[in-house]
Symmetry: D2
Subunit: 243 residues, 4 copies
C-alpha cells in the first residue's frame, strides 16, 4: 500500500514572535509534526500561512490524502478562497485532522456550521485524556488514558454538532472536562478533532499525542466509495403516466 | 402559553415572473403559508427577498421564535449579512424550518457545512412521503404516509450530515427515494428540513403538508436551557499547584 | 394539561439492610424521590422489588407516563417478565429515567444492547456535573455545572451505544470523567440516564439533582405520534405487473 | 494481511421443506454465500440451526472475525445460550452482518433493544437499492443503485435505533421505501444490516448483492483498539482529601 500523503498546515506565527514557542519548536510546529509523521511512514509536506495562498492550492490538495490544521492568532486573516478549497476537498473525500486551537479556524467552523466556542485557561495544569470509545481505531494501542503534565485547559460547553464518535474526554486538574477527541463525516470526507497542543507546551513532542494524530490520519484517510453518476437533473427510471 | 412567533421568509420571485406560479400563489407563497399558520394559532409575519435587507434584521429576528425559509432562483444573491444573522440567531436558539429548494440556500448550507446537493426532475409525478419515525412529534396526527399527486422529484444521494432524526422518507413514481424529513441540532437551535413544495404545484395548499410544517414549527421552537455564564477565559475551580 | 403520571421504582433493599442508608432514606429512597416530584406537580406512585411482581404490571404501566428506575444489589433477581413488560411499554412510548446504579439493571441493558459497564470507586469525593449541551431542555434552569460534595465515582469507558444527546459530563476529584447525562430513543419511547445517586450519600435530597430528574421526566414523557396502521403484511399501493 | 475468518450462519430449514427454495439453493443458502465469499478471498466456515448448539460455540466464535446471520422460520427456537454468546463476542469486537429476515432474529433484537418490526409483502416486485452515503466503504465500487428484479418488499417504519450510517435506502415497485443498509456500533463490535435476500428469489446469486456483503464484512471486521485495564473497581489517581 502506498504511503498516505499528508499535508501539515501550520499558521506558524507564534514561533516567529514568541520566544518561548520558538524554543519548543525552533523550525516551526509543522516541522516537528512532519518529522514525527515521516518516521511513522507517512509521505509528508508542510504548508504555512506565510506561503503564497497560504500553501493551500489545487495543486497541493489534489496530492493530499489528509490535511492537518493548526492555527490560532491569524484565524480571521486566512483567505476565504483557502477555506472554500479545503471544504471542497473534504466534501470530496480528503481527510482533515483539526488540532487544538484549530477549533476556532474558519475551516473547522465552515464544516461544523456552529461557533465551536469553549472555555479556556492557561495555567500549565495536568490534562488526563480518557479513552471513552476503546474499540475505536483512533484509540488503538493506547491504555486507559494519556496524561499530559502541562497543558492549556479547554472546558465544556464545546459548541459543536453532536460528534459521530466520542473517542476521548479530558479531565483537567483545575476542575473542568472537555470532549477532546471527536469525529464527523461531511460529504465523502472524515474529520477528526484532537484537543491538546497549546503552543507554549511541548505537546507535539509527546509520543502518545503523535501516536493519536497518526491513528487519526489513518482513520480519516479517503476510501473508495460508490461511483455516483454525478448527474443532477435525471430522467425517470420507471415509466410515468402521461398527464 | 403565548402563541409562537413565526417569520415566513420567501424569495418571492417565481410568483412575479412565472404565470403558472402566480396562479397558484397569487399574493406569493409566503402569504399562503402565513394564512394557514395563522389559522393554526401562530403569530405570523412574512419577509421576502425584495424587502430592504431581505427583511432579515435584528429587529425581526429578535422577535422571531421560528423562521421558515423558501428560496430557489436567487440563492446566490442573498446577502451574506443576512446569512450571518440567521446563523447567529439559530445558534442562540431560534428554530429554523427549511422548505423544499431551500436545501440549496446559503442559510441551510452554512448550518450543514456540506453541499446539500441532490438529484431532481420535474415530471408532475406522485410523491409518497412515508413516516419512518412514528413516535416523533413532527409526525403527530399523520397516518402511514402522505401522498402528493404531483410533485418535483428529489433523489438520493442527499449530501447532508447524518440527521439526528429521520422522520420521513419519500417514494417517487419515477423510481427514486429521498430523505424528505430530517432534523439537526446546531448550538441551541433546532432545524427541520421538509422536502415537498415545488412552486409549480399547489403543495402549500395541501392540508397534510401544512400540518407537518406546523408540527415542525412546534418542534424547532426555542426552549429554556442552562444559564451558562458566557465567560470564555475562566479561573480554576480547584486549587492548582504552584509551578 | 393533566399532571404527568410518574412511577418511581426502587429496589429498596439497601434501606433495609444498611444502617447508613436507612438514616438517609428512612422510608426508602423511592419515597424521598416521590415527595420531591409531587411537590413539583407530578402525580406519583411508587413500586419496589418486594411488591408482588415487583410492582411492575400491565395495570401499573398502562397508567404510567414515565417510569424512573433505581436498583443495585438485586439486579439479577428482577424477573424477566418485568423486564419484558418495561421494554414493551417503552417501545410504545412510555418514558424511562434510569438513575445511577440502574446502569447495570436488566431493564437498561435490554434497551441498550450493550454491557453498560464502567469503572467505579466509593471515596466520598467531589463530583462536578458539567452541562455540555446548554440548549437541552433537561439542562433548563441550571448554571454551568452542578457540584455534589460527596459521591461515588463512575469512570469511562461507559459501554453504551452513542447517546443521541450528551447533556452532562462529570469531573471527579480523584481524576476521572464520565458521560453522566445521556438520552436515547427506542421505538416510540425516550430514555434518560442520569448518573448521581449512590445510596450512602444524600444525593436525592439535593435540589439541583431533583431539578434535573424533573426536567428529565418532562423530556421523556410520551408525545402523540403518527397513527400507524399496525398492519405488517400489506398489499401493493401501486399496480404491479402480472408475472 | 491474513484472510478474514467468516462464519456464515444459516437457519437452513426452508431449503429442507420448500421445493422452490431447494431449487435455488440445493445445498443450502449458507453454501451459496460461502462459495461466493471464498472466491473473494475470505476464509469461510458455515454453521446452521441443526448442528449441535446451532454451531455457535466458544470454539467457533473465538476463531471468527465476522459472523453473518440469516434466519426466518425458527427465530424463536434459537437457544438463548447462542444469543448470549453472539452478543458477548460482538461486544468484544467480532463483526456481525445481519441479512434480510434476520431483522427479527433474537441476535439482532438483543443488540438493538427494539422490536425491529416492519411491513412486508411477497409479490416478486422490483427493488431498487439506492446509495444514500456514496463515500461509505460499504458502497465501494457500486453505481447509483442496485436493481433486483424480484424481491420481497420490506416497508417503513422499521423499528430500529437510529443507524450510525445510512448507506442504502430501497424503492419498491408497489409503493414503499425501506432503510435497507444500516450500521451500528455496539461495544467494540460493528453491525451491518443488509435487507435483500428472500429465500424464494435467487438474491444471493446476484453478484452486486454479494459484493455489498463482502464490503460489509470488511467494514465490520474487528480492529485493534485501546488496551483498557479491565479493572472496574479503581483507586484514585489524584490525591483525595481525608474526610
Amino acid at each position: 500500500m502506498a504511503a498516505l500523503r499528508v499535508t501539515v498546515w501550520n499558521e506558524g506565527r507564534h514561533e516567529q514572535v514568541h520566544e518561548e514557542v520558538k524554543k519548543i519548536y525552533p523550525d516551526g510546529m509543522h516541522n516537528t509534526i512532519a518529522r514525527s509523521l515521516r518516521e511513522k511512514g507517512f509521505e509528508v509536506r508542510t504548508a504555512t500561512f506565510d506561503e503564497p495562498n497560504h500553501g493551500i492550492t489545487d495543486e497541493v490538495l489534489s496530492q493530499t490524502d489528509v490535511l492537518t490544521w493548526w492555527g490560532h492568532m491569524l484565524h480571521n486573516q486566512v483567505e476565504d478562497r483557502a477555506v472554500d478549497l479545503v471544504q471542497k476537498y473534504v466534501l470530496n473525500g480528503m481527510g482533515l485532522v483539526v488540532l487544538h486551537s484549530g477549533h476556532e479556524s474558519k475551516v473547522f467552523k465552515r464544516l461544523m456550521g456552529t461557533s465551536c466556542d469553549l472555555k479556556w485557561r492557561e495555567a500549565a495544569e495536568t490534562e488526563r485524556i480518557w479513552v471513552s470509545d476503546p474499540g475505536h481505531p483512533i484509540a488503538a494501542g493506547l491504555g486507559d488514558y494519556i496524561e499530559i503534565p502541562h497543558e492549556e485547559m479547554y472546558g465544556e460547553p464545546f459548541y459543536i454538532p453532536t460528534p459521530d464518535d466520542q473517542i476521548f474526554i479530558s479531565w483537567f486538574k483545575g476542575g473542568e472536562v472537555f470532549r477532546s477527541g471527536c469525529t464527523w463525516h461531511r460529504g465523502r470526507g472524515k474529520i477528526f478533532y484532537f484537543r491538546p497542543g497549546h503552543e507554549t507546551y511541548p505537546t507535539y513532542h509527546n509520543p502518545e499525542v503523535m501516536h493519536v494524530i497518526a491513528n487519526g490520519i489513518q482513520w480519516v484517510a479517503p476510501n473508495e466509495g460508490a461511483k455516483i453518476s454525478g448527474r443532477h437533473h435525471v430522467v425517470p427510471i420507471e415509466p410515468l403516466p402521461k398527464e
